[in-house]
Point group: C2
Chain length 270, copies 2
């Protein structure tokens, strides 16, 4: 792996470039983005130069698509039409089924490896790029692969997790999409109350509500069935909390605390 | 205010003592607690000595009840029977209606000032006491008062907010109790999914699920009606997110983000 092209040099794409550099990657890194994004990325020394998508598809050993889902879906046919014989295309889309299906339609299966780095922060854009963004975070790939990229993902500190696209989407409906919608629903419900009586718990629980709808629109559209199921389950759980308000909720509190303890072990302690 | 007694020298009671000291309080601070708690509090130089409840009720200028709600409810009649003519009793209970009603039954109304410091952390006990715990945090009092205690609350950095007991309980059903139950419900719903696919959002959203049921049992029992209403509203909101999964949720995301921006202004920026 000597030539890396990154389509979408925002927070994820830019952090990937910086992380590669810090891990010792000494090949070339080119950005495929709008002129203004390229300017910011060059200014922050994130990329060595720019390139058009078609050229990058032929030139790169690895072409990393770090854009919103619908943009990735729109680019895949263009990439498929110009892809070089040894280019591996990978992506950072938050849902995997729609993207992997489209990739399978337009390029040889061994040339696409779906990916989902489970990292982020509220600030966006190349100016927020951070070489440590993926350290200790899960990076899902959609199949086993011996490509050198996979070694680089390990070297930048990601915890690799292989999940086929369907399993991935069903899983993140619970672990990522449900927390987002729950935060939004909570914020909307509490809106109107006297917020001076809001403490640190409410601040934590509504942080995700700040997320950009631009990103979430595509996620919801490409995983609606699984998300609907997760929402239905959570509503049933909230109804059961309602019925237990007077009889006691010890079991639910213990179950919830147990989940949180199991959660932080694999994620924070790597 | 020269003599302060603190019943329950745990995180809140201990932090109050340390905060008073750091703000320049040079009177005497006595603890009313079990022998083992007193020992920890003495070791950490949080209190000057111990006292029995009846004696403290006569002796103190301010008697601060920093215990679980049911414990406060049980102590109020004992305090009422032995209260001195110039003692002000205040408390840190997370709901206010039940406590203020019981206080009104057993002591002169001008001798009780309901309180609710909206601060905390996951670790408990005097060993976790922190003189900065209340800095920039809301401290609800249930009526206007010219008592010197109120000046000391300002001096330790709390943002005072006057809410009558009913308004307080209705408000915190949304700003505190609903976030707690939402976190517990989310954690229970996600339990069973592959937690390796959990990112920082899920970690944030389930932090409250670690809360101790011992404390929450009393809160739920003394504010069930208001909490039930808040849960019902949140469930309706989640149902409306379900119906919008395919048609789009821009309005809900914008409403939620707007609430969060308004929330952090008064709470974090003081």
């Amino acid at each position: 792996m000597k030539r890396v092209a990154i389509a979408g040099v925002g927070l994820i794409g830019g952090s990937f470039a910086l992380a590669l550099r810090r891990a010792g990657f000494d090949g070339e890194i080119r950005g495929v983005s709008s002129a203004s994004t390229i300017a910011v990325a060059m200014e922050h020394r994130i990329i060595d130069g720019a390139m058009e998508l078609e050229e990058a598809s032929r030139w790169a050993d690895v072409l990393f698509l770090a854009q919103p889902i619908r943009r990735i879906l729109a680019m895949l046919p263009v990439i498929g039409a110009s892809i070089g014989p040894s280019t591996l295309v990978t992506d950072a889309g938050s849902t995997k089924r729609a993207i992997c299906e489209e990739a399978a339609r337009v390029m040889p299966p061994e040339q696409f490896l779906g990916g989902h780095p489970m990292a982020g922060k509220e600030s966006r854009g190349a100016a927020s790029a951070d070489p440590s963004l993926f350290r200790g975070r899960t990076w899902v790939i959609t199949r086993e692969s011996g490509h050198p990229l996979v070694d680089w993902l390990r070297r930048i500190g990601a915890n690799l997790l292989v999940l086929d696209p369907e399993t991935h989407d069903r899983t993140v409906a619970y672990t990522s999409h449900l927390p987002q919608l729950t935060s939004t629903a909570l914020a909307c419900t509490v809106d109107g109350a006297d917020l001076r009586a809001g403490g640190p718990g409410l601040i934590d629980m509504t942080r995700l509500a700040l997320s950009s709808y631009e990103m979430w629109e595509d996620i919801l559209a490409t995983n609606a069935d699984a998300i609907d199921g997760a929402l239905r389950e959570e509503i049933a759980r909230l109804e059961s909390l309602r019925s237990g308000l007077r009889s006691g909720l010890r079991e639910e509190f213990e179950k919830g605390a147990g989940m949180r303890k199991r959660l932080v072990r694999p994620v924070e302690l790597g």
